[in-house]
């Protein structure tokens, strides 16, 4: 039966208004209608990814509860594909269902104060515990969205300092409620604390929560990072969706703000935003027919630059209003709301877009080396043991 037929049958048998939202979401997962491209038994039907949007639309039209995808974006976009690709059967069955239903929020413990662009230089250590059934982790992670809400984290840590840095890393799933995990908010330029610092002190991880082989963590992390960039840069949107729509709205409603120079600047950015949107559409069409291109890196670079330029134009347009702000209260939001705040907030928050999930400079290196095949950076750290690197 087709995914459309299965969706119809499911909705006929499960009244979204009668069932508790969580029961409904669990049943939807069990019926394989959560993410149809996943295997049967893991929330999917092994169908092409492009069938998902029609399924989602049918559920929305029926008034079904959703899993609040923006709140669990790290789980859906990064942890899940990594667990699917590198996890054992037991791990997939244990984690994917509560991840998708939103019962369990996930966060990502990758970046460290001393390991940002040079992520593979990370210093958080994981050492085998005495009885050999697990690991003990010590270190500090940073820039961690949702750590204060998360039940689980994907974590990379150094398990062998005596080999070159990429070889000594292992990938784990960390229970955020375990003793020794301390989460502190990290306040940003916006005044909010979306992100956190996470201190790990003698935290025990059972070996059954390791993802992939010991020493293979860097390869496993590539799955996460590629999906992160697609997740950050991707997402279907209508024309003038995104921040360009905020500025065009101001332009149409406030003729007194218009000047010829700003008019051409606005049109240039409208053209760029529409080109970027079509590029995203083409990327999704390629992925749907199984030709995933390297355009994901392009999407993230574009998204960062456009958000910055468009939000700067909005401040130029607003003049005096741009001098005034709504509030600087330290809050801990669980989703980034670009549209709901002031232009000044958008301008400031967009500065993070070219840093989070890989700086634009690192992404340009990736495009140049992996897509265009240009020579790699000259580097001193590839063949030295991590412990012998200058620090």
């Amino acid at each position: 039966m087709t995914s459309a037929g299965l969706t119809r049958d499911f909705l006929a048998a499960h009244d979204p208004h009668a069932l508790a939202p969580l029961d409904f979401l669990r049943a939807r997962f069990d019926a394989g209608l959560a993410w149809v491209q996943y295997p049967e038994g893991l929330g999917g039907l092994g169908l092409p990814r492009e069938e998902q949007s029609a399924v989602d639309e049918a559920f929305t039209a029926a008034g079904a509860p959703d899993n609040n995808p923006r709140r669990i974006g790290i789980g859906l976009g990064m942890a899940a594909p990594t667990i699917l690709r590198h996890g054992t059967d037991e791990q997939r069955h244990r984690w994917l269902r509560p991840l998708w239903t939103g019962e369990e929020v996930w966060c990502q413990l990758f970046s460290e104060p001393g390991a940002g662009s040079d992520l593979a230089g990370l210093a958080t250590r994981a050492i085998r515990d005495d009885d050999g059934t697990g690991w003990v982790v010590d270190g500090q992670k940073v820039w961690t969205s949702m750590a204060h809400e998360a039940r689980w984290a994907i974590l990379i840590a150094r398990t062998d300092p005596s080999v070159p840095k990429h070889q000594g890393i292992t990938y784990f799933v960390l229970d955020m409620t375990a003793p020794g995990v301390e989460v502190r908010p990290l306040r940003q330029a916006t005044g909010e604390a979306e992100f956190n610092e996470v201190f790990l002190t003698g935290v025990r991880i059972p070996d059954t929560d390791r993802l992939g082989a010991v020493g293979e963590g860097w390869a496993v992390a590539q799955t996460t990072l590629m999906n992160e960039r697609v997740a950050i840069g991707g997402g279907a949107s209508p024309r003038e969706g995104g921040v360009i729509g905020v500025v065009t709205d101001v332009w149409r409603k406030r003729p007194e703000l218009r000047t010829p120079a700003l008019h051409d600047a606005l049109l240039r950015l409208w053209v760029e935003a529409e080109a970027a949107r079509l590029t995203g559409t083409r990327l999704r069409q390629q992925m749907a027919v199984g030709q995933p291109g390297p355009e994901g890196s392009a999407a993230k670079l574009l998204f960062a630059r456009l958000n910055q330029e468009i939000s700067a134009l909005e401040l130029d347009l607003l003049g005096e209003e741009g001098l005034r702000h709504d509030e600087w209260t330290m809050r801990r939001p669980t989703v980034v709301d670009f549209a709901g705040r002031t232009a000044g907030y958008r301008y400031l928050r967009a500065k993070g877009n070219s840093i989070e999930g890989g700086t634009s400079e690192i992404l340009r290196n990736i495009v140049a080396e992996r897509v265009l095949g240009l020579p790699p950076e000259h580097r001193l750290d590839k063949d030295l043991a991590w412990k012998d690197l200058p620090k």
Binding site: W251, D264, L267, V271, E274, A275, L302, P376
Partner: protein, 355 residues
């Protein structure tokens, strides 16, 4: 939904055109030809038009064409741009075919079959035209049209006047070759003195508007081809060129510029495909798609050609290196069918962003 990918048939067509151009329009051949008395390669044109049958791709087979669509036409343009091939495709297979396609004129058969070369007598820079420089008194036409593409080799000129669109025999007109900025796309000034014309359509304005819009939508694919050639060629060059005992392509100053260019070319492909698909399917968004195509792809092609010259260093500034031909084509395309700025102004009206 709009299909932004390439079909298997389109990829096969691309391969055939590319292979022909590789054989017959290599850089040395093009460079030798552009300063010769015959800058346009009519033998290559016949091979494309008659042997490969690409002169009238969107024309139904019953009308002498290939029964394909403007999507396939756009793929041919990508390849012609990649080779800066001097053939009358833009005048004949884009402008003349688009002008004739809405009529039931028998001339379409020969134009689509590639057996009679035709072009639309408008200045190549025109994005829109509402007034005409040629007047009709009965069937006698008088006036001058400057900077007409492919008029030097055309047998038939489609001439817009206030009384309608006329077909005239090119040999009845006075044709003055223009020293053209783009040597691979030579322009011609055309003067008509009492030339007899045959009325094709009473609605010259509508016909010209349709043709120029098709031109704007499809030129983006040629610009994509130009940009792709410049990017690919430059990437290959910086991998082999060594200075300070390193490949120059290992410096971030170079890598990051090429990464940014790759992003722009990737976007241009989506934008050009969107315009071609909207034109092929008669999508109501075509006016936006065509203006967007020129507003976005024009500067990308120019940027790619400029980066190609700069990142080749000294060799890129020489006549012997192909880069200058792509720079001239890209720069000339940026003034073809309206500038990027004029298309932004068009968009302002179309998407309700008034000045």
């Amino acid at each position: 939904m709009t299909d932004l990918l390439y079909s298997d048939v389109e990829e096969e067509l691309r391969a055939s055109v590319r292979s022909l151009l590789a054989d017959r329009a290599g850089f040395e051949a093009v460079l030798a030809r552009i300063e010769s008395p015959e800058p346009v390669d009519l033998k290559l044109w016949r091979a494309l038009a008659v042997d490969l049958g690409v002169a009238g791709l969107p024309v139904p087979e019953a009308g002498g064409g290939a029964g394909a669509s403007w999507r396939e036409t756009s793929v041919v343009l990508e390849e012609l741009g990649r080779a800066v091939a001097p053939v009358p495709f833009l005048g004949n297979s884009v402008l003349a075919v688009a002008a004739l396609l809405g009529t039931s004129d028998p001339l379409l058969d020969a134009v689509a079959a590639g057996t009679r070369v035709a072009t639309l007598a408008v200045p190549l820079s025109a994005g829109t035209l509402k007034t005409w420089t040629v007047t009709a008194e009965g069937d006698r036409l008088d006036g001058t049209v400057t900077s007409v593409v492919d008029a030097g080799v055309a047998e038939v000129l489609l001439v817009p006047t206030a009384a309608g669109l006329y077909a005239v025999e090119a040999t009845d007109t006075e044709r003055t070759p223009v020293v053209s900025f783009d040597l691979t796309r030579p322009l011609t000034d055309v003067t008509l003195r009492g030339v007899t014309g045959r009325l094709i359509s009473a609605d010259a304005a509508g016909t010209v508007e349709r043709a120029l819009r098709a031109g704007a939508a499809l030129l983006a694919s040629e610009q994509l081809g130009v940009a792709e050639w410049c990017l690919t060629t430059t990437v290959e060059y910086v991998k082999t060129r060594r200075q300070f005992a390193r490949q120059v392509g290992s410096y971030q100053a170079i890598k990051h510029r090429l990464a940014d260019l790759w992003v722009s070319v990737t976007e241009a492909r989506a934008v050009a495909r969107y315009a071609a698909d909207c034109l092929a399917t008669g999508d109501p968004d075509l006016p936006v798609a065509a203006a967007l195509a020129q507003a976005f792809c024009s500067p990308v092609a120019v940027k790619a050609a400029e980066e190609c010259v700069q990142l080749h260093g000294g060799i890129g500034f020489t006549w012997e290196h192909p880069a200058h031909l792509y720079l001239k084509r890209a720069r000339s395309n940026a003034a073809t069918f309206g500038s990027a700025a004029s298309h932004r102004a068009t968009l302002a009206g179309l998407v309700d962003l008034p000045a």
